[in-house]
């Protein structure tokens, strides 16, 4: 008997946490993420969810509470956006270096100055070097499913996971979402077994200063220096690819929904131009691809679901036969180009795939991105490529004169 409810992306995220039986939730309000933790507050105060709910005084403390509660052995959850995410930046590094399986939703919102409350992905993209796994969701069902999968992934490899989705576009839009059975979720998610030991029974000092070089402990064992310890994080992130794919596949088998693992494709088999994107802009691009095909252009879409670890292998395979690549993204690395465009080109380097890559920066600060604009953008790219432009950066629907 399926349990489909109409709910916002934020509700879906909250249900994901509830079904995962989270034990500690820390909360601080910021538009447009606030209703995630408001929903959870309601459940906790009504006794529907047994969790410690800590109403901290800043986002820096939000992540700090997640870090220390996770270290003790509790399954933790929180959500934030934009400046909240930026405020906890040092703690994101700390959480990853601590190897804690924290799951956080980032409801994507633009960053100031000047203030924007509307959607773009600059906030989470700017965290890509911190050591967190990043999943970008297309719709509200994927948000709920990804939060649950995130705990499976995080607790297997001991790395934190950020489940990202577009502010207002998904967070506040209502869609049908199927709620999986709570017992089935319990079977999918074994209990959290911390690797950290913070207990009077075995007193340890956790995360002190570490030297650049290796050093012997009192038993004579040669222990890591900073770089060796950090290499382990890199190894874990590179190795997480298999865990992510397996979690996605197991989830699909158990619950009947497959969101694609590392990336997904739409009408790519015979595509002459491949469009790349993350999150709701990729979904919009599928509508654009349909329109382009009606106009005689064989367009396909590759949606990058997992941005970190970057799906090198999958990207090389997906774009192997590309003749033209158009990347739409809601972020910019100032002084260079969009993050996805740069990472894509780097992944294709040396593989023989030599397609021109055109980068469109779109939708910053919530500027509406219309399907028609995507269609026109692809058409103009193809024309520019014919004219010899192998690389191009265009700010879509923006005053640039």
């Amino acid at each position: 008997m399926s349990n489909v409810q109409i709910m916002t992306g934020n509700s879906a995220a909250a249900y994901g946490a509830r079904l995962s039986k989270v034990q500690v939730v820390s909360a601080y309000p910021i538009t447009p993420s606030t209703s995630v933790t408001e929903t959870i507050a309601n459940w906790v105060e009504r006794g529907e969810l047994k969790a410690e709910y800590v109403r901290v005084e800043s986002e820096h403390s939000v992540m700090t509470v997640c870090i220390s509660a996770s270290t003790v052995g509790a399954r933790v959850f929180t959500s934030t956006s934009s400046h909240g995410l930026l405020y906890m930046h040092e703690q994101l590094h700390w959480a990853a270096g601590s190897r804690l399986p924290i799951v956080m939703c980032c409801i994507n919102r633009g960053v100031g100055a000047p203030w924007s409350i509307f959607n773009d992905q600059q906030d989470s993209i700017a965290q890509r070097d911190t050591g967190w796994i990043q999943i970008y969701c297309r719709d509200n069902q994927e948000i709920l499913d990804s939060v649950i999968q995130a705990y499976r992934i995080a607790e297997e490899i001991y790395c934190p996971v950020m489940v990202c989705y577009d502010g207002f576009v998904l967070s506040h839009t209502m869609m049908p979402v199927e709620l999986p059975d709570v017992d089935q979720v319990c079977q999918f998610l074994p209990p959290y077994k911390p690797h950290t030991i913070l207990s009077p029974e075995d007193p340890r000092n956790i995360n002190p200063v570490i030297f650049p070089w290796q050093r012997r402990d009192a038993e004579g064992v040669l222990r890591d220096g900073y770089m060796d310890m950090r290499w382990k994080l890199q190894r874990a992130l590179e190795g997480s690819r298999d865990v992510i794919v397996r979690a996605s596949r197991d989830y699909a088998e158990r619950f009947g929904r497959d969101h694609g693992g590392m990336l997904w494709g739409y009408r790519t088999e015979d595509a002459e131009v491949l469009i790349a994107g993350m999150g709701s802009i990729a979904t919009e691009a599928t509508a654009a691809a349909d329109l382009l095909r009606e106009q005689g252009i064989r367009a396909g879409v590759i949606g990058i679901r997992v941005y970190r670890p970057f799906p090198r292998t999958e990207v090389r395979e997906a774009f192997r036969k590309a003749e033209a690549i158009v990347v739409f993204e809601k972020n910019i690395s100032y002084g260079y180009e969009g993050a996805l465009s740069a990472d894509l080109k780097a992944a294709l380097y040396g593989t023989g795939t030599d397609a021109p890559v055109h980068n469109f920066i779109a939708g910053l600060g919530g500027r509406d991105v219309k399907t028609g604009e995507l269609v026109e953008a692809v058409r103009s790219s193809l024309a520019a490529i014919t004219a010899g432009d192998r690389e191009k950066q265009t700010w879509l629907n923006c005053v640039t004169e």
């Binding site: 034990q23 500690v24 820390s26 969790a51 410690e52 800590v54 109403r55 901290v56 005084e57 800043s58 820096h60 403390s61 700090t64 509470v65 997640c66 870090i67 220390s68 509660a69 996770s70 270290t71 003790v72 052995g73 509790a74 933790v76 040092e90 703690q91 700390w94 030991i197 913070l198 207990s199 009077p200 075995d202 007193p203 340890r204 000092n205 956790i206 995360n207 002190p208 200063v209 570490i210 030297f211 050093r215 012997r216 402990d217 009192a218 064992v221 222990r223 890591d224």
Partner: protein, 300 residues
């Protein structure tokens, strides 16, 4: 044997060969803090002198479970430990946050205020060595007026010491206390008492620092004692709003002869540029503070 004479637990939880400075006031205080708290404790501490005392990977000098955290986050780190332990049904463990004055008065104040306002069930300890000593003696809001630091190297610190005890009192918490490593039994007793109380407990320790205050290490206990004798440091506790002098300060309050503040100031190189005016203001500040404390003690 000493535990019978002084009525303290005899086990030393800080192991020898640690990285604290020779003659460190914090080290002396910490011996008694840990004796009072015992092993059923989880500590959390930020970047500070104490981080260094605890030691570098892969060895620690302290035999109590400890979680290091970032500079601003100490009280939030403790909040997370309390929440996690509650979720795991281990609320019997005492959670203690320990930060320096920088991590309490300055960068740590926001998280501390938040944790106290929420009535978090933990002890927050501030060891106040009146500056950022771990980074080489920079000025903090706990540095007294007239002191030289590397960021007040010529003109001395201009502002008075921030009254953190007053700020913490504004949070409606069940227990606050001041103490000094020069009076270790008074310190020990306060921690034993604090351990038994539920809710947010705040304890501030006036910790002399030989390199930062510029005096020979052998004078650490003497300087700490002079701070109390001159009335610059007052040993007291506030339990459910009731003020009470303790230890040597109680004796001074009853017999009334505080030493002049110059006896504290003249032994420390950090005060060598203190003006006569600043010295006068310090004496006045001490006198005013005591007048206020006398009124409170009478009212309690």
């Amino acid at each position: 044997m000493p535990d019978k004479l002084f009525k303290v637990h005899k086990k030393e939880h800080i192991l020898p060969g640690n990285r604290a400075c020779s003659g460190c006031g914090l080290s002396l205080a910490y011996r008694y803090i840990l004796k009072a708290l015992g092993e059923n404790t989880i500590l959390t501490l930020p970047a500070s002198c104490l981080t260094v005392l605890h030691g570098l990977y892969p060895v620690t000098s302290v035999g109590i479970a400890c979680l290091n955290c970032t500079f601003a986050s100490t009280a939030a780190s403790a909040s997370g430990i309390v929440a996690g332990l509650s979720a795991m049904n281990r609320s019997d463990i005492t959670v203690v946050a320990i930060a320096g004055d920088g991590g309490t008065f300055d960068i740590g104040i926001q998280a501390l205020s938040g944790a106290a306002e929420r009535g978090t069930d933990f002890i927050f300890v501030c060891y106040d060595n009146e500056g950022y000593m771990n980074t080489g003696t920079q000025r903090s809001s706990a540095t007294p007026a007239g002191a030289l630091t590397t960021t007040t190297p010529v003109l001395t610190k201009q502002q008075n010491k921030k009254d953190m005890m007053k700020i913490m009192e504004g949070h409606d918490i069940p227990y606050l206390a001041t103490c000094s490593p020069s009076f270790p039994i008074d310190l020990y007793d306060k921690f034993v008492k604090a351990k038994r109380i539920k809710g947010t407990r705040y304890i501030q320790i006036a910790t002399p620092c030989p390199p930062g205050w510029v005096f020979p290490p052998r004078d650490t206990v003497k300087i700490g004692r002079l701070a109390v004798e001159t009335g610059i440091v007052v040993l007291y506790e506030i339990e459910n709003g009731k003020f009470r002098f303790t230890g040597r300060s109680k004796t001074l309050a009853e017999k009334g002869t505080r030493a002049p503040v110059i006896q504290f100031v003249e032994r420390q190189g950090r005060f060598k540029k203190m003006s006569m005016e600043q010295l006068g203001q310090l004496q006045k500040w001490v006198n005013n503070k005591w007048a206020e404390y006398f009124r409170r003690a009478e009212a309690s």
